[in-house]
Point group: C2
Chain length 430, copies 2
């Protein structure tokens, strides 16, 4: 891996470089995505079947769109029992963590008869997109469904593209069943997003769509935003390791590569105060690349977006980490909790040398759906928050309103909203 | 106002009708908005000054873009002292309510050395858009700034279009100062959204943009979403009053009109179980329209989107209210709190006959920036939540990781992610 000195210049170049991967720069696909959205909105199921034939190479009909109990049973036969047992163990941790995120309705009452509050309600129906083929990750199914389940969503609809044989990847089905999806439809791509956003004869309209997908799926989600809600738009995977001279270079190198293997757009960055560590990690990544089965992807990803930055001070290193706002941040320093207090921007923070990133991908419990591409500056991990919404509660007694009624009337009149003022006035007219 | 029987048919027509007002249907303006966004992204201040000259009729320069302390002092001279006193009283309530929304970092530790948690961090810098001219509402300035202030945002940047004289509406400036805006720039429209999203020589890039605006502002916000965060896209104002025979028709009529006066796209709907109330409210609205200064707008709004629906049962009425998911919902029935328990979808719920909607617009404390156009099914009122974000915290001891390391390795291998497995393996190799 290349080693550079961290300074304002290398930081700026790196930030510009990373942003090139943003889905905000894929405008050229927008027209074809819009065409698919419009077709499904107008023609419903018919358009869904046409696009599925075109893109997935299989002709479905209304009878074969919904995955059956038999197909799920068949999937269980095909999946390794040991994996099913591991999925169940992971689900316990994921459920436990997300239950701690629960938010509750509250109110505050005063003796003059005023009640103010906030009512928390789960969304009624949500859609979970799950990619097919090579990108079918059962862990991702768990991570997208479980927070909705914990939040108390009434109905969780999963969509995933079928293979040419009209079937869904067995591990996807098993993970969906274990996590608690209510229905699974065999449809993928922008046509799946359109079906969830607008509803078709077979697929019910949802309130929110979550889950990762290719560029068509990402653009379709962005296009329907506002009509339904969506999760943040996922970009390529990222890891940033913040390390000092106490870090184990073999561990750091292995962790960097765990994200680099995702795809050629993935980014793996080490920011360290130690030139010695930088050099050892660089050598160790080279050694690992030769051993690992996905070495070719890893090498491309490192060539594209892999960096080792050597900082003068830990403050500079932390500042760079906050500017980059990485999806995953590992802190491997002598006092990692102290460093953590200075971190503003990161999707998930892994503290200490035994908190390797894949622990969070699969098992620890926190969600692995995290903000990418610098959006950790303003977005949060997928959570129970994504599947609830709030309504304000306002209840005033006559007495309480009377004390302030002229204030409200004057405020409304200052805004020239006389019907607003009138609605208060009529309550106190003689 | 027209009176109809509530049934599946009238409900569906009404829902279709309301959705016509959605900003999702204004695609024709997208190209010109995109042109403005691109120009500001490329040319910065220069483009900002050009568009300000074109749209606001005043040529500014870098010296006169930022509102000065002198201009703020001048604004205080021009605004009625009584209004300033009312603004201060309202701010106390708004601050109190939003402080109850605060969320805190938490962690959960287990004796085996695992720590899982969630770190809550305020956004660093946010932009607040405030419309100019006739739509300049000081109450809206308070409602957009205060939750950011309570959340602990470092820097709150306000943008608002200047008048032809290069000045900002005085009440806007006073409200901004009182609520705690750090800087106010004289720029509006899509060019203001672009400046906040990308940054210019004079205007710093922000993490999130909130605040209402015209269709250009709404489309610009939608276009930059993902690059920065935004609040939900505001549509026209809405009120739905759910009432039985115990409601006071004069109060109900006045409340309906308080929203109808906003603009011709605003919607005012009464759903009631009482035909007698329906008729009285209809007659009363006609009487009010003649008296009120904004009678012409009100009449158009009622003709367009005003409805009185008479339901067979309160259950049907509640079901319609949940389908419509109104921005503002008033419950004026014999047992309003019991009805409230059945409400799933509403931005703000006003309970009982003295909780008139304008009380919430100006004074009670809850935010008046609320989800419109049916989006209360999945969006929440503007709140402190909008100005914080979360990072997951994961810290495992060697001992804790060792107990599960083979599970993680197997899960990763099942997904063919061998570098993920490797990053766990290296920690336990002999």
């Amino acid at each position: 891996m290349r080693i550079e000195k961290l300074n304002e210049n290398t930081k700026k170049n790196l930030l510009d470089d990373l942003l090139k991967r943003s889905p905000n720069n894929y405008g050229k696909f927008e027209a074809s995505v819009q065409e698919i959205l419009n077709a499904v909105k107008e023609k419903g199921d018919e358009a869904v079947f046409e696009y599925t034939e075109k893109f997935d190479g299989v002709r479905l009909d209304a009878e074969h769109l919904l995955v059956t109990e038999e197909e799920i049973a068949e999937a269980y036969e095909q999946v390794d029992d040991e994996l099913i047992a591991i999925i169940r163990k992971a689900l316990v941790n994921i459920r436990d963590y997300h239950q701690k995120q629960m938010q509750y309705s509250w109110f505050d009452s005063k003796p003059d008869g005023t009640i103010l509050g906030q009512k928390v309600t789960a969304l009624q129906r949500v859609g979970v997109y799950v990619p097919g083929g090579k990108a079918a990750y059962p862990s991702s199914v768990l991570m997208n469904i479980m927070p909705a389940k914990v939040a108390g969503v009434d109905e969780i609809i999963m969509v995933t593209p079928p293979g040419k044989d009209g079937k869904v990847t067995p591990t996807t089905l098993v993970a969906a069943k274990e996590a608690g999806a209510d229905k699974v439809y065999k449809v993928g791509g922008a046509q799946a997003i359109a079906a969830l956003a607008y509803g078709t004869e077979s697929i019910p309209k949802v309130d929110k769509i979550v889950g990762p997908g290719n560029i068509y799926v990402a653009l379709a989600k962005k296009a329907v935003y506002g009509f339904v809600s969506i999760d943040s738009i996922a970009g390529p995977s990222e890891i940033l390791v913040l390390a000092d001279e106490t870090a184990n270079p073999r561990f750091v190198a292995a962790d960097l590569l765990s994200q680099a293997e995702h795809d050629e757009m993935a980014s793996a960055i080490l920011v360290t105060t130690s030139m010695e560590l930088a050099e050892k990690v660089s050598a160790q990544t080279d050694a690992f690349v030769k051993e690992l089965s996905r070495g070719e992807i890893i090498q491309k990803s490192l060539d594209n977006y892999g960096h080792i930055l050597v900082a003068e001070t830990m403050e500079d290193a932390i500042d760079a980490a906050n500017s980059i706002a990485s999806e995953h941040l590992e802190i491997v320093t002598a006092n990692p909790f102290e460093v953590m207090t200075k971190i503003r921007n990161a999707g998930a923070i892994f503290i200490g040398e035994y908190s390797s990133e894949p622990l969070g991908d699969y098992f620890a419990g926190p969600n692995h759906v995290l903000p990418t591409n610098g959006t950790a500056k303003f977005f949060s991990p997928l959570s129970v928050d994504d599947f609830i919404k709030k309504s304000s509660i306002i209840s005033y007694s006559r007495n309480a309103l009377e004390k302030i009624h002229t204030d409200i009337e004057k405020f409304a009149e200052a805004e020239h909203l006389t019907a607003h003022a009138n609605s208060i006035k009529v309550r106190f007219e003689k």
